[in-house]
Amino acid sequence: MIDISNLSFGYSNKHLLYKNLSLSIQNGNIYGLLGKNGAGKSTLLKNIAGILFPTDGNVTVDEMNPKRRNPSFLRTVYYIPEEVYVPALTIKQYLSLFAVFYPNFNVEQLHKYLKELEVEVPGKLNALSFGQQKKFIIAFGLACNTKVILMDEPTNGLDIPSKSQFRKLIASVMTEERIIFISTHQTRDLENLIDQVIIVDNGQLLLHASIEEISQKLYFETVSVIPANNKILYRENDLKGTSIVRENLTGEDSRINLEYLFNGVTAEPQLTKEIFQNN
């Protein structure tokens, strides 16, 4: 479990990016951290990973303090940054130098994941394209079988088929013990994958809800006439009519559109709060 309690963080003391952010992240879930560019998604991930330190407040991962970067903590968390680092090594050399640090690393799994992501490494890893390098690191990170996997914009640099393969792979490796935490500004890449949504903007936590809860509280539909007497979180005209996100008053299910949800929540944070606070 990751517990973030009253986290304040700023790159300068004058301007805090996060102020008193509290968040509890439970095992067995895939979290999607959504935010605009510069909203602080990477910063939050780095605070969890222990490569940035909170100005105030606490972050704990399985009751360990990331700031100490103890080996026992680092064996628990695998962090995949937006830009990945691969040295000029063959896959065999890379495994012999890096995999030993992860006690639960599984080489068969790695090869399986590489196959699923269609990564072939004929020579040295740094000779691969950026997307292939990223897929290799994703496969390696998953094969390390750490309890927590933090991914910062993992689909950046991946082509369209790879994004789909990525979603399938992430869904297949999920266990009850694991936490997969993915930050992205490309909401469509996470559709049908995540089961918890976190939306941050201007250092504020605007939404933290499960897909189930979102489905209960919001209704996504395309209409020709905007319904009256209903709280409309977001509307967007398209060819078929007007796509809206409104408060779900009937309890009907609808297909969640993460992009509309994100746009609605960031545009109407107060209304979001009202809708999600109502029981």
């Binding site: 680092l74 064996r75 962090y79 940054p81 130098l97």
Partner: protein, 264 residues
């Protein structure tokens, strides 16, 4: 596993730090060897073997060693490699020790080994070039011997190296890009300022000052006569201990603290 030090994990880390970037580590060593060899060859051909021994030892050990010291933590030149290094499951102490062993012990052993080989080669070359029938053969033969690693000059160079090496290592944890050049500039500025301040201070105390090396000797020149004022033994010894042990230890300790506090 212990969270501070585990010998197996340290072994993995040490192996990784050498083999992960063979071009950088082995390249630095190869460049050092080339500089040392060329320096030795050039100076012995122009000035003589004795000077060549000192110049090449200093150039190779000093330049190569400081280059190595600045490169052991150069993961921080990019976000990707920096976060990869910080997130690797090894303790700060192990990462720090690994850097010190690479730059301080491994490099030194390789350099001294290499230096001894080329020194023997050049000294033998010099001796073989002498005419055994010339009257001064014995004197010339014995005037050059292999460079002793425990002589006063070597000790001075070790002293300079531990200080500059430790500064380079620390600097690489502060500067993201071209840390070697930035730290070299800082060191040059510091040495230059210290020298000038020392000279100004000494000229207030003595007349006819010719040269004044900080924490060392003052040369006085009156006409053609040159006098030398040295620090009294206790002070000289204190300075020696300070510069050989205490200052490098402080620099390395600060480097360790910086590593533990490093954010990326």
């Amino acid at each position: 596993m212990n969270d501070t030090f585990n010998i197996t994990r340290f072994g993995w880390l040490f192996r990784k730090s050498i083999l992960e970037r063979p071009t950088l580590i082995l390249g630095s060593i190869a460049a050092t060897m080339a500089i040392t060899f060329l320096c030795y060859a050039f100076v012995q051909a122009t000035i003589g073997v004795e000077r060549a021994q000192v110049v090449s030892f200093m150039a190779g050990f000093f330049i190569g060693g400081s280059l190595m010291a600045s490169s052991v933590f150069n993961y921080f030149s990019s976000n990707a490699s920096g976060s990869s290094f910080l997130m690797l499951p090894a303790s700060h102490f192990e990462k720090w020790l690994c850097g010190i062993l690479t730059a301080g012990v491994l490099f030194t052993l390789i350099f001294l080994g290499f230096y001894r080989v080329i020194d023997i080669f050049f000294v033998n070359h010099y001796r073989n070039g002498l005419d055994p029938n010339s009257p001064g053969y014995q004197n010339l033969y014995h005037s050059v011997d292999v460079f002793a690693f425990d002589n006063r000059i070597a000790q001075r160079i070790y002293l300079m190296y531990v200080n500059v090496g430790a500064t380079m290592l620390l600097g690489s944890l502060y500067f993201k890009k071209v840390s070697y050049i930035k730290v070299a500039l800082i060191i040059c500025t510091f040495v230059g300022c210290t020298y000038l301040l020392n000279l100004v201070f000494i000229t207030f105390l003595f007349k006819h000052v010719d040269a004044a090396n900080p924490f060392d000797h003052v040369f006085l020149k009156v006409g053609n006569e040159v006098g030398l004022i040295g620090l009294p033994y206790p002070l000289d010894n204190a300075f020696h201990i300070l510069s050989l042990y205490i200052v490098p230890a402080i620099l390395l300790l600060v480097a360790y603290l910086r590593l533990t506090e490093k954010e990326f």
